[in-house]
Amino acid sequence: MREEKGVFYRIDWIMVILYLALVLMGWLNIYAAVYNDSHQHITDMHQKYGKQMIFIIAALVLAVTIIIIEPKFFSQFAYFLYGFFLVMLIVVIFAGREISGSKSWFAIGGLGIQPAEFAKMATALALAKFLGSIDRNIKNPRQLFTAVMIIVLPALFILLEHDTGSALVFLCFVLVLYRAGLTGYVLLALVAMPVLGVLALIINKFILVAALLVPAVLIYLRTRRHFKHLIIIVSIFLASAGFVFSVHYTVYHILEPHQRQRINVLLGNNNDLKGAGYNVNQSLIAIGSGRFWGKGFLQGTQTKYNFVPEQSTDFIFCTVGEEHGFIGSFIVISLFLGLMIRVVLSADRQRSKFSRMYGYGVASLFFMHFSINVGMALGLLPVIGIPLPFFSYGGSSLWAFTILLFIFIKQDALRYELV
């Protein structure tokens, strides 16, 4: 009994308060986004905000449950949970319900459950478990391969469900690998690739490849001209050239038309504001019309009158931008950054390597969702439909992120007992 009292005593309440603040804001914004004059009460169960309230209550129950559960449960059952959700990801392909192109939902009663949301959490656990073992060395290619497979496998299954956005999220675990010791060049490459990719789409690819020769030659001339350096530089150059050509090929031959259009919209090649560019344009109109102070709670016209599609889920940030303006957006962004940084800093003070790696997984997942979702709403990224944690309407996403966060809070609270 003394120990349980201790758990609540040592909980990082700042994290919990950040969590509660985001959930509450999310709920109010869903209310504002769906609000109409005929159903005014925020607890109306026939409306999304009423349902979201139930989801939130359930999420809080889950959070408390996690806090009082056996401390070693998640590290011990990490692989089991991972395996379970991998199976679920396959099952959903056959038994799931198709909603707007993605076969990623289980219909349980009146409720839709998305295993992919939970798979992210399970992957974070499994990766932490794997990297948390003593004597684990990420520089060992075999071990690196295993770690990468832990990440790629669920992503692959999710791709099979045609849920590209969710699959893309798994890329965030590179940050965990980086923290575990993976070379920093991987991050550099991850930054360089989109830049090169965009250039490949807007500049003639032959000219681009020729232009890449210039830095290659310059770098070679500045090094000591060892044969070894030449090999490295040539292979990087060849890899880049290959990348340029494959981006072009991928976009124009492999991607589906709607995805290609979304990329074209982003690059400014498509100004069809009624067609493919409609969402992003309306999103920017909603956010831009909020000005500094916003239009006020429930006063947003663009979101309330349905000009912005998917306003309660993928484009929920529009409601924030329109009704609460720059100041409200600033607050929401700050809360997210605060939560993520708090998680990273806490992760580093963990004595258990599992807890530390898991903490990085949590922060990376939040970061990925946050940056893709808000980046899309701001027209900085192509339209990729993934939820904004705690804000977007939906039970699966809220629960998965709650579990994800509270497992870490629990681990953090017990950091002196766990090794």
């Binding site: 575990a180 920093g184 500094f292």
Partner: protein
């Protein structure tokens, strides 16, 4: 080893913060730096609905309603929203074909794809009923209620004028008008536009993505009410105007009647005219074209203001007045008439046979050409002036003080100056100072270069009846309040001729009717004064002209009548004037025979125009 990598948390936090910073910069740009998004947002949700006020009504001098409004509807379109329209049905309902539909939609789109334009204007109430039921099948289209001008009596079309959509030039120069607004284009509608139009209101409505109305914007905080236009009280006498138009049927010409004491226009008849109800609503364009291309009747030409005639013998009244003022003519001045006035080279201004010699009254009564040629000569050759030119300039100034030769300033647009030739004109024509009184002698009998409008003739009659002054003629006697006075016309204009010189001229004019050239037109128990005129012109038969006022003292009506190419003034213009005076002063006309003869005469087609000369004794003037 892994502990040594703790610095990497800073790299990762750095990445988080950079992304956050990028977002904030982007938000700053989108929300604060650029206006485009807030403007688009307003375009998305706000619909500005103009509230059109009812135009002011127009009454006649006896309180009869002349011009009023009827509910009508404009079919508006917002091109950007016109998608999935049941085009066939819409075309059928408003009676256009598909090409026309496309043409109109393109025109609206050119104006603005997301602002409203009139697609079909001024639909009547009945047609609106059919349209309204099916409006849901035409997204992007909606109906705006307007008013349609209606005329109780089909008279005075030129005076009322008409309204139409404001053109691009007006919209550009006057910020009050937006595309689709109506504006007075002619007549009273034009000159009193700012009083009649009232004040537009604005309602701002919020609509959702499907263009469904979601209520007023911020509880109507920015809405404004429409204020109805101000009513006008015309000085027109509806019955007199209508009677005048009947008398003028089949004739080209005009009748202008003025109340001398006030300058109020009693009627402003121009003929041929048209039914004002033709230029209303969506039939206006078609009918207007027909009227423009009617070259036989020229129904759009307002002769009362825009036709210039040589005044003929009516101008002898001005000679008589100016001659006395100049001290070269006295009531007792007597000239003999040998059947004409010789102007040298064997030419002469002919006169008809009459007793001779005559004094001033007699000369007016008989309208002796010789007498007034001599009067004119004595004015121009007056020794007190150093040159013909100086004398002429003095003469011209005095003539123009009667409101001749320049616009009077009537409150109906379109008035012409008329023409009292300048000395420079004669310099150009004859050489500098190479003209004398004999060169321009035809002015003395109102012929030659002189041009006067029927309105100016009527005003001349009014001035003489007032013994030397007039108010600028006007058709609107009161604005807003029935018993107020139109403030633009209170000033008394005084002629250059001493009032004392008028009575002898008025006596002459009385004799014209009792025993002179117009004696066939006299009215029992009513003393009215007149003067006939017969204007020679290059377009055929002489114009028949008559000016008059009645009664002789404290006149209630001054009138001018011109009938183009009809003959002597006494033949047509004088009886018409006499009927008009009878109508106005006695309210009923007893002389049915005369009325019938006038009404049946059709000079345009040459029917019933040969009257029995001599029977009534129509004397030449």
């Amino acid at each position: 080893m892994e502990r040594a990598l703790a610095y990497r948390r800073l790299v990762i936090i750095g990445i988080f913060l950079s992304v956050g910073l990028i977002f904030l910069i982007r938000l700053f740009y989108v929300q604060i730096l650029v206006d485009k998004y807030i403007l688009s947002a307003n375009n998305n949700v706000l619909r500005y609905i103009t509230q059109y006020p009812a135009r002011g009504l127009i009454y006649d001098r006896n309180g009869k309603l002349l011009v009023y409004n009827e509910a009508a509807y404009d079919l508006m379109v917002i091109p950007r929203q016109a998608k999935n329209v049941d085009t066939m049905e819409l075309c059928r309902l408003i009676g256009i074909d598909k090409d026309e539909y496309i043409r109109r939609l393109n025109k609206a789109r050119n104006y603005s794809p997301y602002r409203q334009s009139i697609f079909e204007g001024q639909i009547t109430r009945e047609n609106y009923g059919f349209l309204e039921e099916k409006l849901f099948r035409f997204p992007g289209f909606f109906v705006q209620s307007r008013t349609l001008r209606k005329y109780t009596y089909s008279i005075a079309a030129h005076t009322f004028g008409y309204i139409g959509e404001a053109g691009p030039d007006v919209i550009e120069s006057d910020p009050y008008y937006r595309s689709g607004d109506y504006i007075g284009i002619n007549g009273i509608e034009k000159s009193y536009e700012e009083i009649l139009r009232g004040e537009k209101g604005l309602k701002i409505r919020v609509v959702d993505v499907l263009n469904r109305d979601k209520g007023s914007f911020q509880d109507g905080k920015y809405d404004t009410l429409a204020y109805a236009g101000t009513d006008l009280y015309s000085s027109m006498d509806e019955e007199l105007q209508e009677y005048g138009e009947k008398l003028m049927a089949g004739k080209k010409g005009s009748i202008v009647a003025i109340e001398p004491a006030t300058g109020e226009i009693l009627c402003l008849v121009t003929s041929p005219s048209y039914d004002p109800n033709l230029l209303v609503g969506n039939i206006r364009k078609k009918n207007y074209r027909n009227l423009v291309f009617d070259t036989v009747y020229q129904p759009l030409f307002n002769r009362a203001l825009m036709a210039m005639y040589p005044p003929g013998s009516t101008f002898k009244l001005v000679d008589a007045l100016v001659g006395q003022q100049e001290g070269v003519l006295f009531p007792t001045t007597t000239y003999g008439c040998p059947g004409g006035f010789s102007i040298g080279n064997g030419k002469m201004v002919a006169c008809h046979s009459h007793p001779s010699p005559l004094n001033l009254i007699g000369a007016i009564q008989i309208s002796c050409n010789t007498y007034f040629c001599r009067v004119f000569r004595s004015i121009i050759d007056n020794r007190i002036y150093t040159s013909t030119r100086q004398a002429y300039e003095k003469w011209r100034k005095e003539v123009m003080s009667f409101g001749l030769g320049k616009k009077l300033g009537l409150d109906v647009p379109g008035e012409l100056n008329g023409n009292i030739p300048t000395p420079t004109y004669y310099d150009k024509y004859h050489g500098k100072d190479r003209w004398r009184s004999m060169t321009i002698i035809s002015l003395g009998i109102g012929q030659g270069e002189i041009g006067i409008t029927p309105l100016q003739l009527a005003n001349l009659a009014a001035t003489i009846s007032n013994r030397g002054w007039y108010h600028v003629p006007h058709i609107i006697r009161a604005i807003g309040k029935k018993d107020s006075l139109n403030p633009g016309f209170l000033e008394k204009k005084v002629s250059a001729v001493n009032p004392a010189y008028f009575d002898i001229v008025v006596e002459g004019m009385a004799d014209v009717v009792t025993s002179g050239t117009a004696r066939a037109s006299k009215i029992d128990s009513l003393d009215f004064c007149g003067k006939t005129g017969t204007a020679q012109n290059p377009h055929g038969k002489n114009h028949s002209i008559f000016i008059a006022f009645a009664p002789k003292l404290n006149s209630k009506i001054a009138i001018s009548v011109v009938v183009e190419n009809a003959g002597f003034g006494a033949e047509w213009a004088a009886p018409i004037a006499s009927l008009m005076i009878e109508k106005y002063l006695k309210r009923t006309v007893k002389r049915r025979d005369l009325e019938d003869r006038i009404m049946n005469a059709d000079f345009i087609h040459g029917l019933n125009v040969n009257n029995e000369r001599g029977k009534g004794g129509f004397l030449p003037d």
